[in-house]
Amino acid sequence: MSSRDTILATLRANRPDPAAHELPPVAVLGDMDAGKARFEDALQLLGGQILLPQEGDTLATAIARRFPDAKIICSAVPDFEGTIRLEDVTSPQQAAATDVLVVRSPFGISEMGSIFLSEAQLNSLNSAAHLTQHIVVILSEKNLTANMHTAYVERPEFHTANYGVLMTGPSATADIQGVLIRGAQGVRSLSVWWE
């Protein structure tokens, strides 16, 4: 008998009575506020930032002001130029040189301040979202969902994407004497630009 069959047979022999353990219906609990203010508060709590436009700003001028030393600004969206397009980046090794990656997220979660990215937004080079030093995420207020329950119930991406990441602020660690450090091994900063 294969290990698979042995494991399944042992589980069948040992399990508690299934009839005594009903599956509860899907839970949709908690605060249903899908607002921008809630999203921004949650994002900032986890170290994320809002890229705020100043008078007459475009995304390009806001990025130039926020990242004055950036040499390679990679765009994964059609409406922003950057210095290189993500379609022209062919390997993780090439993506590792990126200073700023600009992407568009299909939805955000107000409860957490999370944004979602999948291969559809990353031109199938998923590592680009983690090798870049900084990431700027374009997000629309109308694509906010209230909380984790509504996100999993409503968003089709969880059933279709091969790679789907919820990013909530930049990478972080507190592994050295409990000191919180934003910018661990993935992006050093994550900024949201409202469209």
């Binding site: 494991i7 009575d17 353990h21 986890l46 993780p92 329950h149 059933h159 050295i176 661990a184």
Partner: protein, 469 residues
């Protein structure tokens, strides 16, 4: 050769001797517990979330074979190779074969308690595979050749100078670097080139979703996503119990996990892997390693609900003051003490005694495992299986006799007054009295409650009854 039980008390003694480490450890974990409480108080639905999480997990465990089959079918449909490992040795062999087939010599991995369980690095490295832990805490532990001391924060028992020394030895950094920021940066700079040239990546996982064939990985540093997406070969290892039925169930668990673990609302990364990336290959190893047997243990099967948040460790007064390494096991703290004996009853027979029975672990558990009750039940099982050390067994035996006979008990208690106040220290404090090692015995009382009651109330009662009659 007979396995020797872990001497938790002795290891804890050494930990207690080091005041700076002990104080930091105790305070850091208590701070995590308090941050968890703050998050809990923000959610009026917290207890309902716990009840739901518990019910979903119990249902899933009772239907585990069906959900695993459903997961396997969906994962295969999405192009994931699914493997089953009965134990650690089989797991390691499977991973080794996948790597060999690809000629992979360099493996980068994120934190995975299951690979610790299987002692995978020790298997792969003699076979020519360089395994690099990419999680900062786990990397510190790997370089220091220690097991993780906590399931969420593996190097929580170390201070900045400890890390500076380890990095200086391995990364040629300044041995006197006293900045956690610059030490973390050293790890980033050291890890990047290894990540960019690795042949294969490995992650653990927090959840399997039967409905979609997805596995979900919750992390903070970004190293798991790098390990999974930079190389074209991704191997994930998960225990068979980590499954939930529906994608919509994830809402309950994600809302509980990081709040319980670190007191943050969510981990910085919550990643859903449903299939290989373009041009890539994805494998998942489903590991049993004693879990299917544990499902049959009537009093202990609910320990399989565990989502590995570590809240029970952070709150435990014994864990905070003894350190994870003192448990001598992959899983430490209260959850470790109830699952370790299922791996080796004799070796871990001392661990269920590393508790004050305060029940705090049970109160903070997001999936409502009755941890402290299971600790108690393990003590009984271990006593029945004769796994108690001689002194503890004999003392319990004598205490049992004494307490079973009220007259004998009262005589003995009256005697302790005399004994405690007159006997020399060496008679009271010796190897027969481990309790007295770090504690003073109580002051002898002038009068026991029983003798006071007999003298006063019982007399009054008799008199008043007599008056009425």
């Amino acid at each position: 050769m007979k396995v020797k039980p872990v001497n938790h008390a002795k290891a804890a003694e050494e930990f207690l001797d080091d005041a700076p480490h002990l104080t930091f450890h105790d305070e850091r974990l208590w701070d995590m517990r308090q941050k968890r409480d703050q998050q809990m108080h923000l959610l009026p639905e917290w207890q309902e979330l716990r009840s739901r999480a518990s019910a979903i997990k119990e249902h899933t465990l009772a239907n585990l074979p069906e959900y695993l089959e459903q997961f396997e079918a969906n994962a295969k449909k999405n192009g994931i190779h699914v493997h089953w490992a009965a134990d650690g040795a089989e797991h390691n062999r499977i991973v080794g074969e996948i790597l060999e087939k690809h000629g992979a010599k360099s493996l980068i991995k994120s934190k995975s308690m299951v690979t610790e369980e299987c002692d995978m690095r020790a298997y792969l490295e003699p076979r020519g595979v360089t395994v690099t832990e990419t999680d900062l805490g786990e990397r510190i532990q790997q370089l220091d050749d220690q097991m993780p001391s906590h399931i969420v924060v593996p190097a929580v028992h170390k201070l900045v100078p400890d890390v500076a020394k380890i990095f200086a030895k391995n990364y040629n950094t300044d041995p006197n670097d006293d900045s956690p920021q610059s030490l973390a940066e050293s790890q980033r700079m050291a890890a990047r080139p290894v990540i960019l040239t690795a042949d294969a990546g490995m992650t653990g996982g927090n959840f399997l979703v039967a409905e979609t064939g997805t596995f979900v990985v919750c992390t903070n540093e970004g190293n798991a996503d790098l390990s999974a997406t930079v190389p074209n070969l991704h191997i994930a290892t998960l225990g068979i119990e980590r499954i939930v039925p529906r994608m919509a169930d994830m809402g309950v668990f994600i809302r509980l996990l990081s709040r319980s673990a670190l007191g943050s609302p969510i981990t910085q990364y919550t990643t859903h892997f449903r299939g290989p990336q373009k041009g890539g290959e994805m494998h998942i190893v489903l590991v049993d390693n004693g879990r299917s047997a544990r499902l049959g243990m009537e009093e202990f099967w609910t320990s399989l609900k565990c989502i590995r948040c570590g809240a029970c460790m952070n709150t435990c007064p014994v864990y905070r003051r003894s350190g994870g390494l003192s448990y001598g096991a992959v899983y430490s703290g209260p959850i470790g003490a109830i699952i370790d004996p299922t791996f080796n009853e004799r070796k871990y027979s001392t661990l269920p005694f590393a508790s004050t029975m305060n029940g705090s672990c049970t109160n903070v558990c997001p999936v409502k495992i009755n941890i402290h009750e299971q600790l108690y039940k393990w003590r009984r099982v271990l006593a029945e299986h004769h796994e108690l050390p001689f002194v503890k067994r004999e003392i319990m035996h004598m205490a049992g006799k004494l307490m079973g006979q009220p007259t004998l008990y009262r005589t003995a208690i009256n005697g302790t007054e005399v004994a405690l106040s007159t006997l020399p220290r060496f008679v009271l404090y010796n190897w027969l009295n481990p309790w007295g090692k770090h504690r003073e015995l109580p002051h002898p009382v002038k009068q026991t409650f029983h003798s006071w009651y007999k003298k006063n109330r019982l007399k009054d009662k008799k008199e008043s009854q007599g008056g009425k009659a």
